[in-house]
Symmetry: D2
Subunit: 257 residues, 4 copies
């Protein structure tokens, strides 16, 4: 791992084509806006990938050369190929970072990494959200003050069906009366995962400088600390040890016990 | 949930048919021995299910009427139907308990619940294992002293590729020089999961009274505390709130945002 | 541990004597109201203890015969004797349950158990609070629906300086714009700890039936699963082992190494 | 926080004066050996402090200028002043890193940070220990392979009475049959804590290059990510809010409620 972080921003890129208002906000797609603000940092080298490209833009070569993958999806979760999802999961377990944004909570890759339904309450009233920073010492909140305010957002409310996060970074307050665990981190295999709630397609969330700061911080936090392929090896003993298995063992034991 | 716990003991039941030594140990299958010692407890009502039965013995009706599912598999993990695995996962997330034994670490259901490779080191030398009880106050170790000794076992060694357990219950010492996190608990959705390392098919592990005690305790610990189907509802505000989404919103938003 | 749970409700009992409005609400002290609603349950045997009694009502005999201790304090935290705090801490580590209410976040015993400052933001505007139940399967929330609403409370806001809870049970939404981790559990030694935010002395919080239900549930959850005195023993080897320490060892090693 | 890390190595420094064998191994004290190997790294600026210096070498100025404090103590834990311990705890909660070695498990500062007894089993037979690295991707194990072997050590065995670590880094195997959680990390306040088991005074542990590597890695991992003094502020509302507390409030509410 050299000092430049290879980032791939993946976007479903459908709302931006189908919906005039979303297109007006993000004419080249949300991935383009995200890639642009990340790309201003000298230590980040950023590419994008979208659903309708071959292999969703996530060929083995791209995945092998990605340090941190950012994921935005919503209306077409079901169109993402299981094979690509398995490829991404394998790479996260080897050490690649994964940042899942907003409606990506229902993406195949997020549910596969966590093993839960990842369901929640929701409402689209364009209400106010205030994300409280409860881990001011965490690298993901560096430079963020006590909270982030978003004047208009979709609401996500608890109970969010996720495994208990290793660290809870942000808790959201919503104007309509709900709360939400809006920034959560987990480690799986050798990889780091960050879920970040903001990012609805009909609001200019990805133009917000604090949101940009959090995502930029998260990329640096999630970069691989090691890349280590999975293995399940038969191991020789480290202490003097007689093999007594013939006393009990038998033919027919075909694989790892 | 009445006071009787409905237990289903699932076994692949292949080694016992193919291997003379395993057959000699467990003539009617490991599931039968497990069901027998559990069945001696008045509060447990026990049935069994095996791979080669229709729907692997895990019809929707069986799953819906199971409080705690015990899982043993090894040589035929790949033959377990994805549909049945999804059915079991859904039920665990709703609240059913799941106890995974020994080589079940590589089962589809365990990997799906945890999201990791679940790989480890292994060796079959029939060596000594000592499981240290590091949570003497946990219900799973009730009546177990400081440790359990097994004179002959297969070795499993770290690194075990699992998410950090909510609680680590047992750590194993092996004669050949390794250690292993042999008893681990997690919660996923509303369900509880216990992984317990012992249980190799060529050793009389399931006849060991302390092992029987741990599994019996674990069944009681893992029983549902609630059964709650998944949902992802649109929610009305709890505070006075104007719907401003038309200002931003648009057609084409088809599902949960 | 027989089936009756011995509960001791500890209250500083100063506001109720000094402040006419508090006295009007809780004429015999908050401890009396708490003891009364708990005492309606046949499985709970309840006594009270207050700051101004000898040994604060927490003699060794009382502590030794308490399964679950409930703690309310605020204006006189500093008057609680360090010796009594050490006695309570020792008992929690042996297995006694501890439930800390509201302003008890700044009590000596809570800070000693957790090792952090336990500080927070606060405001007394008699505003609305809504406690979201994010663990509907946890015994502490049994019978509580999606949330609890309190029309008038003091506000506590994040960042709450506590170690990451083992489980986060409630998150509060406040009318004035803050959020708070209002229900948190930890295990320390063999004991269980529950912090529950509501309980301000100038509002009728402890008359609220849902609040009463949570505290009652918490008592049952926190009861000892084991009582085990601390020890730090020299241990004989379990495997054949020559003592080679004379090769290296020396006089002057006076205690546990 | 500039790029140089200020390290203070604290040692009780008694065994080295009283015991000829320890003196032969560590003629200038263990702190000197630790400071020397750390000092070879250009990014670390290292000083030492010992029990018998004024304020134990931990004046307010020293503590305020320490990024990471390393602690070794054993026979004189009781002689460490409570005032100095409170000073160190305060600084850890503000963000300073703390690395506790070996018999420091019973130090006042470690027990105060964790809130538990920190007791364990022990034996001094100069037996073999193998520390298994179960987090190969963690910065603390960078450059360490699958395990570290120490030919002669004191044994520490489970149950180690600590709060569940945020991450378990090393598990030890002992020749005499025990296991131990030998590398554990926690966060408290804004500070990071690492407990590392090896380091007995009668064995040349601190001359072992892998042990030196772990401690060096740990210093870099534990450096402050933020320094933030504790506060417990009264907060103005962020939403329009009428102060209704006069309806309920009263005189006599003297401090944080």
């Amino acid at each position: 791992m050299n000092s430049t972080i290879q980032v791939t921003v993946w976007n479903e890129f459908r709302h931006e084509k189908k919906n005039e208002k979303v297109k007006a906000l993000y004419p080249d797609g949300m991935h383009k806006v995200i890639a642009d603000f990340l790309g201003k940092n000298a230590d980040l080298q950023v590419r994008t990938a979208t659903l309708d490209e071959p292999e969703h833009g996530l060929s083995q070569e791209v995945v092998d050369n990605t340090d941190v993958l950012i994921w935005w999806g919503h209306m077409a979760h079901g169109e993402v190929s299981d094979e690509i999802v398995a490829r991404v999961q394998k790479r996260v377990l080897e050490g690649m970072g994964l940042i899942v944004l907003h409606s990506g909570h229902f993406s195949k890759i997020f549910k596969k990494m966590l093993g839960t339904n990842c369901s929640l309450k929701w409402r689209e009233f364009a209400e106010k959200e205030r994300l409280w920073n409860i881990e001011p010492g965490h690298p993901i909140t560096e430079g963020i003050g006590e909270y982030i305010e978003l004047p208009n957002t979709e609401m996500y409310g608890e109970r969010f069906d996720i495994p208990t996060p290793d660290k809870l970074i942000f808790i959201s307050w919503f104007e309509g009366g709900e709360v939400f665990r809006s920034g959560c981190v987990w480690e799986r295999g050798h990889g780091r995962i960050f879920y970040f709630r903001p990012g609805h397609e009909t609001y200019p969330i990805f133009y917000n400088e604090q949101i940009q700061k959090v995502i930029t911080n998260a990329v640096r936090w999630a970069k691989p600390r090691i890349i280590m392929p999975d293995k399940c090896p038969m191991s020789q003993p480290l202490e003097p040890l007689e093999n007594k298995s013939n006393t009990f063992g038998a033919a027919g034991i075909l694989q790892n016990g």
